[in-house]
């Protein structure tokens, strides 16, 4: 398990497309927003939490289609399936590695990008906290989607269509928490609900993904 985790981290670092790509995409989305809605500071402040959450979510989606597809193409997934590791564990570990290389940098970069959108001062802590709670669920749901589409050539678009509706609860509670905090309201309730959603996803999704993968490997 640990070997698989560190192998994925090393591959993401060496082959590129891990740390850099997601952040760059996030940055571009955030920079494009003032161009499209106008550079009015009060408007930007109001929509900043939602834009940051949406940007992070889309950046997370970007690298999902390679999560299992690479291992499928070079045969490593077959070999892993015959190894002592359970498929559920393999998917969970790969999702964890995806989060460390994609989700975690987004969480850390979000306050910086918040400045670009004039996010109100009170919103930074909750923004980071909500992204920190939510992005692991995004990676795990993404891994489930990747398991569903693993045998399909050019399954990236289908993966997005399958995964985006499943992202809705995480997005609602995450963005709501960040918005409330930015407006100086109490954000505890949406944060707790977000934590609940993430907890349920992390507990259940590895088994769903493992079962799906077992069928797709046939």
């Amino acid at each position: 398990m640990r070997a698989l985790f560190f192998r994925d981290l090393r591959l993401a670092l060496r082959a590129g497309g891990g740390f850099g790509l997601g952040i760059a995409f996030f940055l571009i989305v955030v920079v494009l927003v003032p161009f499209s809605v106008g550079a009015e500071v009060t408007l930007l402040s109001r929509i900043a939490p939602g834009v940051l959450w949406l940007g992070a979510l889309l950046a997370c989606l970007l690298s999902l289609d390679r999560l299992l597809a690479v291992d499928w193409e070079d045969g490593a997934l077959d070999l892993l399936a015959t190894s002592p590791l359970p498929l559920e564990g393999i998917v969970a570990v790969k999702a964890a590695a995806h989060w460390v290389t994609t989700g975690l940098p987004l969480v850390l970069a979000a306050p910086l990008f918040g400045i670009l959108l004039n996010l109100p001062v009170g919103g930074y802590g909750t923004l980071v906290l909500s992204l920190g709670l939510g992005t692991p669920a995004l990676s795990m749901i993404g891994a489930f989607g990747a398991a569903l589409t693993v045998g399909i050539k050019r399954g990236g678009l289908l993966l997005s269509l399958l995964v985006l509706p499943l992202y809705v609860p995480t997005l609602i509670f995450g963005a709501e928490a960040a918005r409330r905090a930015a407006q100086g309201l109490d954000a505890a309730t949406p944060l707790m609900l977000l934590a609940g959603v993430s907890g349920a996803v992390l507990a259940c999704m590895p088994f769903a993904a493992g079962a799906v993968l077992r069928v797709n490997l046939r």
């Binding site: 291992d71 193409e73 077959d78 002592p84």
Partner: protein
């Protein structure tokens, strides 16, 4: 403990390919599958390895004991030879990779990335993986593809050493490795696709 396959029926995508396959493989023995392309050798091997369910019949003694090697070697181009092999050793709970490197003559390019190896060298690295799994039953699908004569001999030596150590090998191959092995010709077990067609005609 021996590997016992009883009355196994296998298929790909719901289409039956082989039926009634039975054989037993005891420690120290090798079994070579023969048959033309598309006859179901790969499907049989994948079923024995547990990668797909059997349509009927039973495979006994295979759980957690099989090292599988097929056309794709599962190598990562961005990782070096040692990192690739070390990863698989760690996955299978082993630590010793030096004997595998030596057996397949890979000691000369341990620091080279797998992406920079030739097809034959990649294949050797893929086969060296078998040795670091520590598993007793090698299930091999055309293991000698892209190997030169010297490498085939080296591979045959590795299989012989594995058998001598009480291991087993089940492989589909067209060339003669010079290993003392039983031969199973799968053409004799071909599922009768014709009967389905005849049945359809009767129905019409």
């Amino acid at each position: 403990m021996e590997l016992t396959v009883t009355d196994l029926a296998v298929g790909r995508g719901g289409v039956p390919l082989l039926a009634g396959v039975s054989f037993a493989l005891s420690p120290g023995r090798a079994l070579v599958l023969r048959g033309p392309n598309g006859s179901g050798k790969t499907t049989l091997l994948r079923t024995v390895a547990g990668l797909q369910p059997a349509m009927a019949g039973d495979v006994a003694g295979a759980d957690e004991r099989i090292a599988y090697a097929a056309h794709a070697d599962g190598l990562k181009a961005a990782l070096t030879v040692v990192e690739n092999l070390g990863f698989w050793a760690a996955v299978f709970g082993q630590s010793e990779i030096a004997p595998a490197l030596a057996a397949f003559d890979l000691a000369g390019f341990t620091g080279r990335r797998a992406g920079q190896l030739s097809a034959g060298q990649k294949r050797r690295l893929g086969l060296a993986r078998l040795m670091v799994t520590g598993r007793p039953i090698w299930v091999l699908d055309e293991p000698t593809v892209s190997l030169d004569t010297a490498s085939v001999a080296r591979f045959a030596d590795a299989v012989r050493a594995h058998l001598a150590g009480g291991g087993m090998a089940l492989m589909a191959t067209h060339i003669n490795l010079g290993i003392e092995a039983d031969v199973l010709d799968v053409t004799g077990f071909q599922a009768q696709a014709a009967t389905v067609a005849q049945g359809d005609e009767a129905f019409l």
